[in-house]
């Protein structure tokens, strides 16, 4: 297992505080934050706090994950549309599989993502839970 600590550390503000970016020219919003707007080509984007609530558009239950997630399997991953229309994919937790519904309301929280290798370095990330 190769640790990629700096990558995790760089993304922490996004993982823990859910940051997006908004184009000052055309108003398009992005997650993860971008520096160039694909819609209008503008380079004037600013970071903003994403709404922490959204609804479930679709989901799956991961049964054959990558090595570092094996001990958490099975777990739910969903496509979520936040209140301002920005979408993301995240784990959905604190919910039983048969409780999942299209359009169900969810809110963001911070949870353990996985532990890396023998040294047990723990990574945290956004996950969503039912409201």
């Amino acid at each position: 297992m190769i640790h990629r600590i700096p990558d995790y550390w760089r993304n922490l503000p996004v993982y823990l505080q859910l940051k997006g970016s908004v184009c000052k020219k055309c108003g398009a919003k992005y997650f993860p934050p971008r520096k160039i707007c694909p819609k209008c080509g503008s380079r004037e984007l600013e970071v903003y706090d994403l709404p922490r609530r959204g609804k479930l558009l679709s989901w799956t239950v991961i049964r054959y994950p990558a090595k570092e997630f094996e001990k958490f399997s099975p777990y739910v991953v969903g496509l979520i549309e936040l209140e301002d229309g920005v979408r993301l994919i995240a784990q959905i937790t604190d919910v039983k599989e048969d409780e999942l519904k299209f359009g169900m309301e969810l809110r963001a929280t911070v949870r353990r993502a996985f532990e890396e290798g023998e040294d047990g370095i723990v990574r945290y990330t956004y996950k969503f839970v039912p409201i």
């Binding site: 558009l57 799956t60 054959y64 990558a66 979408r87 993301l88 993502a113 990574r123």
Partner: protein
């Protein structure tokens, strides 16, 4: 100046415990060189498509590796990686190199996945997707496909059986195909009863880990012409796309390729899809323009895409049944079109094969490549 396919070679797609990358490369490469009738020393450049070698096999630099394996020293050799689209990117590069003045180019794809456990193959497939915002938070490639699958069924009110049927049809086309990984029929019941990889996606709706190598010699002479190879890209993270069920890179590369080949979609006689899952096959048919949005599923029948159907698809079994040795897959597709066009497709032969089209994807349509070939 037209570019032709002058020779082809491939290994059966399989799990080769006794063969290495070297063995597979030599087998496919020599067959392609021999069938081209040109002397190996006349090869100007080698393009090697490989998706996972640096991760799975700890072997990079496969351009020079392949040149050495074939005994071709002092040759230019380049490895290309675009995950599932690696092979068609390599064909693209060979095609352009010829247009820029080369005489003969060897394009070879190779993948050797079964040296590691399937869990590592699933992980390796996710190299195609964003590490920071998909893979590292627990998403797999198959998981992303499954999320689209559920969304499609809900939005268009479609039963899963209608989509999963693509696997059954593809398998029926692979029956008796010598180079296919699974040259046998399966029925819909067995697909629907197979283990779930990521709900609702079943094991028998996706390709299995496998190994294989395939090669083509491109030249200024030959009996099958390359009419177009066109690439396009889409937003790298599927969740950012305006409609996650619309594969815009497929749509765009199709539009460019048809324009380049000066063809209408109705002139395409058959199609090799990139059915990295059944649902992706359906989305591809829609994005290519063979069906409207939400109507791709209506094509998934023997009457429509069977060998005697309106637009035959996956004539040797596609990714599911012929197999998906990632970096090599798109080159298998090209060779299958070649065999159809020269009338050597055996049991898979369709009538009046004059123009064939193949699609390959990198990731979930992050990249798409369309190739169109025709009989000389």
């Amino acid at each position: 100046m037209p570019v032709y396919i002058r020779g082809v070679g491939l290994t059966k797609v399989s799990e080769y415990w006794k063969k290495s990358i070297y063995d597979l490369v030599v087998e496919a490469g020599l067959e392609a060189l021999d069938s081209s009738g040109i002397d190996p020393s006349e090869i100007d450049r080698i393009y090697v498509a490989n998706a996972l070698g640096q991760y799975i096999n700890r072997q990079g630099h496969l351009g020079a590796y392949v040149a050495d394996a074939l005994g071709l020293l002092n040759t230019g050799a380049v490895r290309v990686e675009g995950t599932g689209a690696s092979g068609s990117m390599a064909v693209y590069l060979g095609y352009k190199d010829l247009l820029a003045g080369a005489e003969n180019i060897l394009v070879l794809g190779v993948e050797k996945m079964t040296d590691v456990l399937p869990t590592h193959v699933y992980t390796a497939r996710s190299l195609a997707e964003d590490w920071s915002y998909l893979t590292s938070i627990g998403t797999t490639f198959e998981g992303l496909e499954a999320i689209l699958y559920r969304l499609y069924m809900k939005r268009y009110n479609v039963d899963q059986e209608k989509i999963a049927m693509l696997s059954v049809i593809s398998h029926s086309h692979a029956e008796g195909v010598k180079h296919a990984q699974f040259p046998r029929k399966i029925n819909l019941e067995s697909v629907m009863r197979s283990p779930i990889i990521a709900d609702p996606l079943h094991l028998l709706e996706i390709p299995a880990p496998c190994d294989g190598a395939a090669a083509v010699v491109l030249s200024k002479k030959g009996n099958v012409k390359i009419d177009a190879v066109e690439m396009s890209t889409d937003e790298f993270r599927v969740f950012e796309r305006e409609d996650p069920l619309w594969l815009d890179a497929v749509h765009d590369s199709m539009k460019k390729a048809l324009a380049n080949a000066k063809l209408g979609i109705n002139e395409i006689d058959f199609v090799e899809l990139y059915d990295v899952s059944t649902i992706l096959g359906v989305l591809e048919l829609e994005a290519m323009g063979f069906a409207d949005k939400g109507k791709g599923v209506e094509l998934i029948s023997e009457e429509m895409i069977g060998l005697n159907g309106k637009i035959p698809v996956n004539t040797f079994g596609g990714l599911k049944a012929r197999g998906d040795p990632m970096g090599a897959t798109a080159i298998y597709q090209i060779i299958e079109i070649y065999k159809q066009l020269i009338g050597e497709a055996d049991r898979s032969q369709i009538d009046n094969a004059k123009i064939g089209l193949s699609l390959s994807l990198g990731g979930l349509g992050n990249t798409a490549v369309i190739s169109i070939l025709s009989r000389k």
